[in-house]
Amino acid sequence: MEGEVKIGVYICNCGTNIAGTVDVKEVAKLAGGLPSVVIAKDYMYMCSDPGQNMIKEDIKQLGLNRIVVASCSPMLHEHTFRQAVQDAGLNPYLFEMANIREHCSWITEDPKLATEKAKALVSAAVRRVYYQEPLEVREVPVTPSILVVGGGIAGIQAALEVANAGHKAYLVERESSIGGHMAQFDKTFPTLDCASCIFTPLLSTVGQHPNIELMTYSEVEEISGYIGNFQAKIRKKARYVDEDKCNGCLVCVEKCPWKAVSEFDEGLSQRKAIYTPFAQAVPNVPVIDTEHCVYFLKGTCRACERFCDLKAIDFEQPDKEVEVAVGAIIVATGYDAFDPSAITNYGYGRYDNVFTALQFERMCNASGPTGGKIVLKDGSEPKNIAIIHCVGSRDKNYHEYCSRVCCMYSLKYSHLIKEKIENAEVYQFYIDMRCFGKGYEEFYERLSNEEVKFIRGKASEVTDRARTEEEQGKLVVVAEDSLMSALIRVPVDMVILSTALEARSDAAAVARLFNISRSADGFFLERHPKLDPVATTTDGIFIVGCAQGPKDIPDTVAQASAAAARVLAMISQGKVEIEAATAVIDEELCSGCKICNLLCPYSAITFDEEKKVSRVNEVLCKACGVCVAACPSAAITGKHFTTEQIMAEIEGVLA
């Protein structure tokens, strides 16, 4: 490094975000007195153009060769400042950021303590930057293909966008058909489009798209590699039906004598042991449910095999493992519907005529279990129906968040009921009506004129214990009408529970698999809530749809397209920048003990048998630091995280 170290320190006020708690002048004063610091000042917004220009000017005027900015999280603006430093002709790795917002001002109430903490963080960054060295950013080529995990509307949209742009998309779906929750829907709010009419063409486009390789009844088992160069191991579970031979005639389904509860119809109907979940399934190839197939249980039957002219049934079919190379991954694993049996006072599972929203959705669907008729368990038509909002949402006991779609689909149900049952009475028990999307408020307005009864108040109970003649044989919804400040009891024939959308029960495992984080509500965490809502903290891995948080179809589609645009940008660039801070082995210190050899998750370490030393392949190294920590001889150095730098940082904090 050239001559004397000259450090410039800039303390950001971030409006009042930092300066409201931290005495920025005092921090700047302390920084000014630290060794090798040439200039230290505070400024209103360091990330603004004038803020960045100030750094650039000082680098030129004062010959600064190390820069520290104390502001927000490096997640947010490290790139901004590295770029600014680079524009002024300095290597970006000669810049260090101290996080005095998220790590300090936002979480420390006492201004004195916050200021002390900010001083410690700044002094650590200053001492660290002294030892920082210039590094060269490297570029690697991008594999021009994508893995989309989840075949609901989010995954389908993302896969189509990429495939339509001419690139390969691998679409992996856990169930035997793509479609996800949207395939279960009847109409969609607020336009009342028939869901199948708009969705099934998409499904078949995906099924036939030359650039989409569809892997249904499959799960991703392992991800390795890094942005631009991932490898995914996918297990294709045995369907026991040969996809290449089957022509989708479904005679096997017709002939199968064994039945099970239909998951697709939310338990309202039965399906066969060999089945496709719904009529327009893609691919239209059935799957054998080994838990209900009598051949798998007892070794007899084989009816499906006998009737299949194409000899497509294969009871011996094994699971298959395939490996694909992709440049990016979009996780679109969707949501689970909240199980309302947890809220015992609503009587779901106890009363025949308390249904979940998805069950009701299936009931309304023309190809559903009742052929689109709204009926009670005994087959008769209900006259009055109550819809209870926020079941599991906006509730401290379950999920504090708003599920965002329940108000709207509840309104949609009101309309469908009114349409299908003459003179039906519909009661909506709501906390607040949240009709925020395009055309949503208008839809609410329209329903208000359809004589739907809106009752503002959370229902406390659904009971069959009648108190009056009128309540006999009915389900009584007990609630507080908070507009009238009165307790009310409403006798109805049917109750629909507008259940919350929640994170998938296996979200934790999926997060681990893809090395992404989850927010407190259990959904996957985006890189930035406003400015980067589809990326994750792992480069090259994106999240879309309800896997990221509850949202409606338009938002899901927009998000899926956004993620696809990010992937396409990567592909059209053809290369991505990767971490320069790789690990390097000092051959003068390596004793060839081979501790590190097996540890590298990227297989970047090889052993030189002739020299008896280990060596890091810098192209493969992703700078995770595992080998650095493991090396018992300190022969491996993590560039940008050297022992010298880390010790200086610790000493700075403790100084």
């Binding site: 210190l589 060839g592 501790i595 097996l598 018992p632």
Partner: protein, 319 residues
Amino acid sequence: MAKLKVALYWAASCGGCEIAQLAIGDKLLKLAEAADIVFWPVAIDAKYKDVEAMPDKSIDACLFNGAIRNSEQEHMAKMLREKSKIMIAYGSCAYEGCIPGLANLFNRQMIFERVYIETQSTDNKNNILPQTSCQVPEGELTLPEFYDTVKTLRQTVDVDYVIPGCPPEEKTTWLALEALIEGKLPPKGTVISHNAKAVCDDCPLKRDVKKIKKIYRNFNIIPEPEICLLEQGLLCQGIATRGGCGAPCPQANMPCTGCYGPVEGVIDQGAHFLSALASVIDSNDPEEIQRIIDDIPDPVGSFYRYSLPDSLLRGAIIR
């Protein structure tokens, strides 16, 4: 050429370093040809006052072994530093604190209570503990002050060179003495040994990638000859220990215990060995991992046998 003046001293140590110094055998004669030994309590009858009377920097080199446990040792370390041009920390106690340094897991009071009261062979009805001064009819009796913590020589005075080992191998001792005699000493601060790399570099045993399913103590197994002991589950610390000794222990089927201290550039030998060991435990099941590491006997004594006072933690915090 005038003869060199050399002093040798012992502080908190076991006497093994003196044996190691004598173990250079006939090379002692070469040393005697080149140098006068002006102070060596183990062999020469000289008094502290004789050293005190020497002019500052009149000794060319002092080989100081032993850790700093009490005020007498600190006094002598400081005095010899003043009188010597070159101060050499000889052996692991002076270098890193070594076995006496393991007492840093306790404080003075705990050590005194254990040694002078609790041990079964002790008969001390009046609970008498060592005092720095005591009045008897004949006058005042004094003892050096026993410190709370053991320090290394480097934590007490400025040290020019280190000769590592517990005790240093004969060839390591001679490497330093020869350099001294020939006036070819390396840059100040050097830890003098034949190898800056780890013991593995000296060790002829065959090594492969490491995966440990079970940890053994020495008496649990008879290791396969010619195969890396760590791979066989013995806690051989050669991977984290400076070489130059020639790896005599692993070659005799005894795992390296780490006496030559950390490899060049390593700040905390025990932490580095621990981190490396943790990396090669062959399991992802937390319960199995726990079972495997439960077999590590006396973790501090295993990982920091020679280096506790010189480690990042230096010892236990006692409240």
